[in-house]
């Protein structure tokens, strides 16, 4: 399978070479050739004026998609403390599963976690599988992959969702590779088609474009999903699900990774968890402006966030940087002050409940995603706003 160029038809206009976003086309010995950078985005196909480019499709052995049913959510936890991305994934899995009338499964791997696992049933999970062994006390990719493999062989799910966290992005590729199936990283949008194909959308090129990806002919379909993008649907009224404890053999539990020590890191005041954020962008030019932003955040009971240029200037740290190279946030309220709204920034915050943008440039891209656009000078607006909020009248 791949892009095929008909050299007879090609007039060497080089339109395709110039427009290939991946640098996958070049002229070799007077002919346009495709190299290994090709991502099959098919832009060249659509833009060739003489239709010299075509896509050679694979001939697949037809997969029976009906052999696979249900969606597994991996339950990430730290010593029983369930990571909040799990509830978001369960919420998304319930929405996706409803389209296919599929069950939602949760798989939890660890040690002394049965009670925590059982609590997940309240969130509308149909079946929770638990792997509870001393050897699984800490995350080790090899025996965790074995446990996950057992769950997949047992349940035969159509899709598997894993949080795109540090653990998730080590575990999911290992399990997906074991099943020789497809995996999409860091997805931000998931949709279910009626033929059970999971449509996975993720930012590419630092968030400049979105890529829509599917797993054509393999099951299960794996996606790691970004934290703070999906909605947790909360608990259900009459949970009907069941918990099932599975046991593994000594061979499956064996690990080639030896734990030496486990140290809990001091909690980082991470902006990803903030409910209210006030962001300072490059339009905040001086210490006086920064002070106003800090005071506004404090008066609203929120946290200050920064754009990448501000962090690069040494104002604010990585834990408070919002955007593709920083944190993704989904607060109830975000007020951006002097932020132009480069896509690398907005990708990290455009799911916020209420977005208020203050910028003096009426055409700033931030206004394309803002719910409230305040066009004006922040040095005029913030002092008055601060006074009103602080005085509460």
């Amino acid at each position: 399978m791949g892009i095929v160029i008909d050299h007879e038809k090609c007039v060497l206009c080089l339109n395709c070479v110039a427009n290939c976003p991946f640098g996958a086309l070049s002229v070799e010995n007077g002919r346009v050739e495709v190299n290994a950078n090709c991502k099959l985005c098919k832009l060249c196909l659509n833009n060739c004026p003489v239709e010299a480019i075509s896509l050679e499709e694979n001939r697949y052995e037809e997969l029976n998609k009906d052999d696979y049913r249900g969606i597994i959510v991996y339950v990430e936890h730290d010593d029983g403390l369930i990571h909040p991305v799990t509830y978001e994934l369960i919420g998304k899995a319930r929405e996706l599963a409803a389209i296919m009338n599929y069950p939602v499964y949760a798989v939890m791997i660890g040690y002394r976690i049965r009670q925590k696992a059982e609590e997940l049933l309240a969130y509308g999970v149909d079946r929770v599988l638990v792997y509870d062994h001393r050897e699984l006390e800490y995350f080790r990719v090899d025996n965790y992959t074995n446990a996950f493999e057992e769950a997949i062989n047992y349940l035969k799910p159509s899709s598997v969702l894993v949080g795109a966290t540090t653990v998730g992005r080590s575990l999911a590729p290992s399990v997906a590779t074991r099943f020789r199936t497809g995996l999409t990283a860091d997805t931000t949008v998931l949709e279910m088609r009626e033929d059970s194909d999971l449509i996975q959308i993720r930012p590419a090129f630092g968030g400049n474009i979105m890529a829509q990806i599917k797993t054509t002919n393999n099951r299960p379909q794996f996606a790691t999903v970004r934290y703070k993008v999906m909605n947790s649907l909360g608990k259900v009224e009459n949970p009907q699900g069941v918990m099932e404890v599975r046991t593994l053999t000594a061979e499956q539990l064996a690990s080639r990774i030896r734990i030496i020590s486990y140290d809990r890191l001091p909690p980082v005041n991470d902006i990803a968890d903030a409910e209210i954020i006030v962001v300072a962008g490059s339009g905040v030019r001086d210490e006086k402006g920064l002070q106003m932003v800090r005071e506004l955040a404090q008066a609203l009971g929120g946290t200050v966030g920064y754009t990448r240029p501000m962090v690069e200037k040494g104002i604010g740290d990585n834990h408070h940087q919002i955007g593709l190279s920083g944190r993704s946030v989904k607060p109830r309220l975000i007020i951006t002050c002097g932020v132009s709204g480069a896509i690398q920034f907005t990708t990290g915050m455009n799911k916020s409940d209420l977005i208020i943008a203050i910028n003096s440039d009426r055409n700033a891209p931030i206004f394309r995603i803002a719910h409230v656009a305040v066009v004006g000078d922040l040095y005029e607006i913030l002092p008055e706003l601060l006074r009103l909020v602080q005085e509460g009248r």
């Binding site: 991946f22 996958a24 991502k39 290992s174 990283a185 829509q212 054509t216 990774i257 486990y262 004006g376």
Partner: protein, 266 residues
């Protein structure tokens, strides 16, 4: 002892723009560079070489132009360079890329000890190819290493950053690690090494050289995922605009915060 570092040549991705009329991607230049995260993998590997005297190889996959990043790695201190380059490798997803690299590693040396990768690339951005390579090779891996505690002829001990906690673990060879940005400060290429490496050949590995040379296992054919399309991120409509003078905008904003219950009126 033999350490292999996986590196990649990436485009300068921040420069990509979408033409609003045609939806075509516009690139201001075809500039490429070494994936910045790979510099940390190289620095880690070179320090291990300095400490143990191991043999150090760099492996990349891509078009022939990717020789440039291998040459750069050699100028930093890598002994040998290999490039997996074949048009049949094109269109590879995580699954096919992981497989190709694993096959390349087997081709170079069945008795490798340690594979080192950067945490992610700046173009693919998945952070998932390294773990996939380890699974294909049937060896354990530790991702997100932020410190090497000990290294011997037999095993490596590392600190792994897992957000809320730090796990210190040890693995015997063969194994794979991916290292965090900032594990060590990468050195600059040296002129002397650059001159010396100019005489060395960067060896090209094609599909026919690999232990498994079934083309269906590589590139787009060997991939399980397919890009259906690319598009510009959605832009939503503005619901409210305040564009009066500073004082009136502040008042409107305040009223909004009150009505949304972010400010309590005393």
């Amino acid at each position: 002892m033999h350490v292999i570092v996986c590196i990649k040549q990436v485009p300068d991705s921040q420069k990509v723009k979408v033409d609003p009329k045609t939806g075509v991607l516009l690139r201001s230049s075809a500039d490429t560079k070494m994936n910045p995260y790979d510099l940390y993998a190289l620095e880690t590997a070179i320090r291990i070489k300095e400490q143990t005297g191991c043999r150090l190889t760099a492996l990349s996959m891509g078009p022939l132009s990717a020789k440039e990043v291998i040459a750069e790695a050699m100028a930093m201190g890598v002994d040998d360079g290999y490039l997996l380059s074949d048009r049949r490798f094109g269109g590879a997803d995580v699954k096919a890329t992981g497989y190709t690299l694993a096959q390349g590693i087997k081709h170079i040396d069945e008795d490798y000890d340690l594979i080192i990768c950067g945490r992610q690339t700046t173009d693919g951005d998945t952070a998932q190819v390294g773990p996939s390579v380890s699974e294909y090779l049937g060896i354990p891996h530790v991702s997100w290493c932020r410190q090497i505690d000990e290294i011997s002829e037999k095993e490596i001990a590392v600190k792994q950053n897992l957000n809320e906690y730090l796990l210190t673990v040890a693995m015997e060879y063969p194994c794979l690690i991916t290292v965090e940005k900032g594990i060590y400060q990468p050195r600059l290429p040296s002129y002397r090494l650059q001159k010396a490496s100019e005489k060395k050949e960067i060896r090209i590995i094609t599909l026919d050289d690999l232990p498994d040379n079934d083309p269906d296992h590589y590139g787009a054919s060997g991939s399980a995922t397919q890009v259906e399309g690319i598009f510009e991120p959605n832009s939503e409509l503005i619901s409210e605009v305040y564009d009066g003078d500073g004082l009136s905008s502040a008042r409107q904003l305040y009223d909004k915060l009150v009505s949304e219950k972010f400010v309590e009126v005393r």
